[in-house]
């Protein structure tokens, strides 16, 4: 939890847009890890397992509960380092308004630094599908952010290439 707790919580929060639901997912995922984990797992394998488990649990919750409405404001996020500047709040809000599948791809790509192939493995979809979702996400974010350059909407990268850390 010390090493990957934030990763799981952020993913659940991004996906569900509800702090209480994110806490539920967090608890369920780590309890499953404590019950099932075998010895000898390396860090990356554990992290991937946690992400997959969190995504599955988020999907379960999404089926069980109607979304409680809207995007969670950064002001509502517990234990958020503050103050939050306006641009960050707008970015968070814009990502939160993306469709769930696009939002997940954006979070794993930009937030966790996974490549499209890795995200595809985590989500169980082809890498091409992930790339497609990222393209659609960037297009939607451009509108949501009122005409910002889509590259700058998520990362400040010189030129038009939008990706933050890794090229596909």
């Amino acid at each position: 939890m010390k090493t990957y707790g934030d990763t799981v919580y952020r993913l659940a929060l991004c996906r569900l847009q509800n702090a209480a639901d994110a806490e539920d997912v967090y608890q369920d995922v780590f309890l499953r890890l404590l019950e099932q984990r075998a010895g000898g797992w390396d860090g990356e394998r554990t992290k991937a397992w946690l992400i997959r488990a969190a995504l599955n649990r988020c999907a379960d919750l999404g089926r069980a509960r109607r979304r409680r409405g809207g995007v969670i404001s950064l002001d509502e996020v517990p234990d958020m380092a503050r103050p939050v500047d306006q641009e960050a709040a707008e970015l968070w809000d814009a990502v939160g308004r993306l469709p769930e599948k696009l939002r997940t791809a954006v979070h794993l790509f930009y937030g966790e630094g996974y490549e499209s192939g890795e995200i595809g493995a985590l989500l169980g979809v082809p890498a091409a599908t992930v790339r497609s979702r990222l393209r659609r996400a960037r297009a939607e974010l451009k509108d949501l952010l009122g005409g910002f350059d889509d590259g700058k909407s998520l990362s400040e990268v010189d030129g038009t290439y939008p990706y933050a850390r890794r090229a596909e």
Binding site: M1, E35, P78, D79, A88, L91, G113, L154, S155
Partner: protein, 323 residues
């Protein structure tokens, strides 16, 4: 280059107290799952020989009745109310009895005593063994280096006409366990903040199906407490931070070691009625591998008897009333 989204999300951290909630729940599940993992991990390793005094865990000196009476996660000490009986009145013809008027007899309160198990998880109570012994599993509490081990072994004082309750233990300590319900968003925030700042012990904040938020609040009381009777109050066995088992041994082992801290201990319960009548009962505490059985609805029952070589068991505490 700068990844603005990552920079943003890196400022979001796991809420304070959430990790402790996970560990809290893990301890509870460990205790529940123990019988399914027959003799693996939970409970002290033992020989294949049948129970004998010599083979018993230390300080276990009595063979407990093999009676199917139980407690799962909490122990309710029922001080079975006070029975009423007429006060002695003057015999006919003796001074003070004119025979001319009938006055209602004065009454005094005579407390009766008993033990009833209470399973907090299912809100179920269980009757005591014929000898009053009662048992419950360990490992369902909450442990932190700052607050010590709230063992989860709870007892509740119930009955009628009880005005005051006095509890004391000759080793370790006691704590009060209260469920705070109908928590508002503001109260939830306050409790989370208090946990984060270490002002209260970490506890799981939960939401029932009807949407009500609730959480247990645990307060260490030291070696004893005397207070006005509250029928909803529950008390439990507590190990101070200085006395608790070292961490890093594993949840089950730590819980077992903390339970052993009470092995041979003496719990004294005194109730006082409104007119000052007192009744005291002492209970000798024992720890060991207690036999469990499953009821038809899937609930686990801990029996106040040591498990045999082929029995499923959990590590638990048994309270045996002393003569």
């Amino acid at each position: 280059m700068e990844n603005r989204y990552r920079k943003l999300t890196e400022r979001i951290h796991t809420p304070a107290g959430l990790n402790d909630q996970v560990l809290f729940e893990a301890r509870r599940r460990t205790a529940e799952a123990a019988p399914c993992r027959e003799r693996q991990g939970w409970g002290r390793p033992r020989t294949k020989t049948a129970f004998t005094a010599a083979a018993a865990p230390r300080n276990w000196t009595r063979v407990l009745l093999r009676t199917a009476v139980c407690a799962v996660c909490a122990l309710a000490l029922v001080l079975g109310g006070f029975s009423l009986r007429p006060a002695p009145t003057a015999a006919p013809g003796t001074p003070g009895n004119t025979g001319l008027e009938e006055t209602p007899p004065a009454q005094i309160l005579v407390p009766t005593f008993g033990l009833t198990a209470y399973a907090a998880g299912t809100d179920t109570t269980y009757g005591p063994a014929p000898d009053g012994s009662i048992a419950f599993s360990v490992g369902e509490g909450c442990t932190t280096p700052e607050f010590g081990d709230f063992t989860g072994c709870l007892f509740q004082v119930t009955g009628e006409n009880i005005a005051k309750v006095s509890l004391s233990i000759d080793r370790g300590g006691l704590y009060r366990y209260q469920i705070r319900e109908n928590l508002t968003d503001e109260q939830l925030a306050e409790y989370r903040q208090a946990m984060a700042e270490g002002r209260i012990a970490p506890a799981a904040i939960s939401q029932r199906d009807d949407g009500v938020w609730y959480m247990p609040e645990m307060t260490a009381l030291g070696t004893g407490v005397e207070e006005d009777y509250d029928p909803d109050a529950r008390y439990g066995f507590w190990v101070s931070p200085e006395e608790m088992a070292p961490t890093g041994l594993g949840i089950s082992i730590e819980a077992q070691m903390d339970a052993d801290f009470f092995d041979g201990g003496l719990l004294t319960v005194t109730v006082t009625s409104g007119d000052g009548t007192e009744k005291t009962q002492t209970y000798r505490l024992h720890t060991g591998e207690l036999k469990v059985e499953w009821t038809g609805d899937g609930d686990m029952t801990v029996l106040p008897e040591l498990a045999g070589p082929d029995d499923l068991f959990v590590y638990g505490i048994c309270a045996v009333p002393e003569d």
